[in-house]
Amino acid sequence: MRFETGVSPARSLPRLTVDGLHKRFLLHGQGGIEIDVMRDLSLTLDAGECLVLAGRSGIGKSTLLKMLHGDYRIDRGHIRLHFEDGELDLETLPAYAWHGLRRDVIGYVSQFLRVVPRVAAVDVVMEPLLARGADEHDARQRAEMLLARLNLPERLWRLPPGTFSGGEQQRVNIARGFIGEHPLLLLDEPTASLDAANRDVVIALIGEAKARGTAMLGIFHDEDVRQRVADRLLPLDGSLGRLPTGQNVQESL
């Protein structure tokens, strides 16, 4: 694994700890079957570090990111964020507090852009800054800078991304995810549909985020990208994967 040189003091502080996380889906419509998708997952993530989730394809690595982002409920286990002046436990965080947390602390680059009809690409990208009350002119400049860096043709900036190609939408999504400079960033295959030049831009963005002290948790299927961004790999074959409930986990390994 490659490690960043010039370790800053901030790097040694954990930003996130996950302890004994479990996830089970109960499907009422399918005769009430229960499926265990995550068993006893634990991890520590430091500031300025990029931890890459490793494991078989289709094992459900996104499940962990979705639990950290509040898209999935936390059934059992602990997710804790660490700050200079205290800690925050996500499993007990009231629902009304999540949108503030997402605005200021936890950023997410999902695999697919959720398009708001009629909203121009540049407005999609700048929204996280506006949500914090940023000046509109400054936010627009930042958004345009990122879109330009990601080689999105300028003629597309004022158009809604609904009709864009997969790669173009992905770049809008990446710009939106990175613009807020959240201290914790979740990356779900941000380079999946990009060409080599744009992959390099994303890798550079990840490098700059590390230098700022951003803690990142990511899924990257591309071996080359993984090598270049990962400080550590977290093997997940033991704790992820669909199991009917009641089965002994050890037997399945």
């Binding site: 499907l27 009422h28 999935y72 002046d85 507090a97 708001v116 201290p183």
Partner: protein, 296 residues
């Protein structure tokens, strides 16, 4: 980095509300709190009781049991919510005294919606709250001009200066993407989408703290709906509105609401963060509802 401040004061405290027209017709035993700056979506199919609940919350219909408590001053400076494109008169208006009653109650900052008298409740609805109806005809005066529609609530707050009222009207028409040149036209000459935007301008012009919306995009064509949704998102953000939104449309709920409450047969079956309700529904009915949505 420092721990973020995530706590938000409670604006609306809904305690055990029941309003039944018959067995399982209406809403029953509803409890929730709306926090300042939150958009809460109430979703469910027709007959789930969501519209009845909204009418009770919005002060239009007394419940059989339960209380709706409005906590009005939550350490937000009064000026902060009235400095938006508004002439001086709105800021210095005497309207608030009309709602507040005696100063002692004001300091306690809690209003029990159905314990205060009819007159004070009406004043509250007119001055501090807003209601956007599904059908703009229910929220507009169809016979008077667009400008008069927007100015009416400001006049209720004590503004009388014609020139300022007109300027504010034009400002708001621009804000909701209506042609300010049509300020003297009656809403009946507007399309459905334009009427709905005018209703929103009419409601938001007084910068209400709390807004109730009943299927605000309900009767509109899909293309018009998309435009309105984006406008509502922007206004909610810019004005820092707290909103209770009733909709049967989960896609609308996803775009606008931070948090959802799922209703069925007059009762709440599940509540949670919008993404959790839609991506990880727990209750059998919510799972059915979410899985029944058509995706083009």
């Amino acid at each position: 980095m420092k721990k973020p401040t995530l706590a938000r004061p409670v604006l609306l405290d809904v305690q055990d509300i029941t309003r039944l027209y018959g067995p399982a017709k209406g809403c029953e035993a509803i409890d929730f709190q709306l926090h300042a700056g939150e958009v809460l979506g109430i979703v469910g199919e027709s007959g789930s009781g969501k519209s009845t609940l909204l009418r009770v919350l919005a002060g239009l219909e007394a419940p059989d049991a339960g209380r709706v408590i409005y906590r009005r001053s939550y350490n937000e400076p009064e000026v902060a919510r009235t400095d938006f494109h508004e002439p001086e008169a709105a800021r210095t208006g005497t309207g608030n005294n009309e709602v507040g009653g005696d100063p002692k109650e004001n300091a306690e900052s809690e209003l029990d919606l159905y314990a205060i008298g009819e007159a004070r409740r009406r004043a509250l609805l007119r001055l501090e709250w807003g209601l956007v109806h599904q059908n703009p005809r229910d929220g507009l005066r169809m016979g008077v001009s667009a400008g008069a529609n927007i100015g009416e609530r400001l006049m209720a707050q004590g503004q009388r200066h014609y020139g300022r009222l007109r300027a504010t009207g034009q400002d708001w028409m621009h804000q909701v993407e209506l042609d300010p040149g049509r300020i003297d036209d009656a809403p009946r000459t507007f399309s459905g989408g334009m009427q709905q935007r005018l209703q929103i301008a009419r409601t938001l012009v007084t910068r209400p703290r709390l807004v109730f919306m009943d299927e605000p995009t309900g009767g509109l064509d899909v293309s018009v709906q998309a435009r309105l949704l984006d406008m509502l998102r922007t206004l909610v953000r810019q004005l820092g509105l707290s909103v209770v939104l009733v909709t049967h449309d989960l896609a609308v709920a996803r775009l606008l609401a931070h948090r959802l409450m799922v209703m069925r047969g007059g009762r709440v079956v599940e509540t949670g963060l919008t993404d959790q309700i839609l991506d990880d529904p727990q209750h059998a009915y919510t799972q059915l509802l979410v899985s029944s949505v058509l995706t083009p």
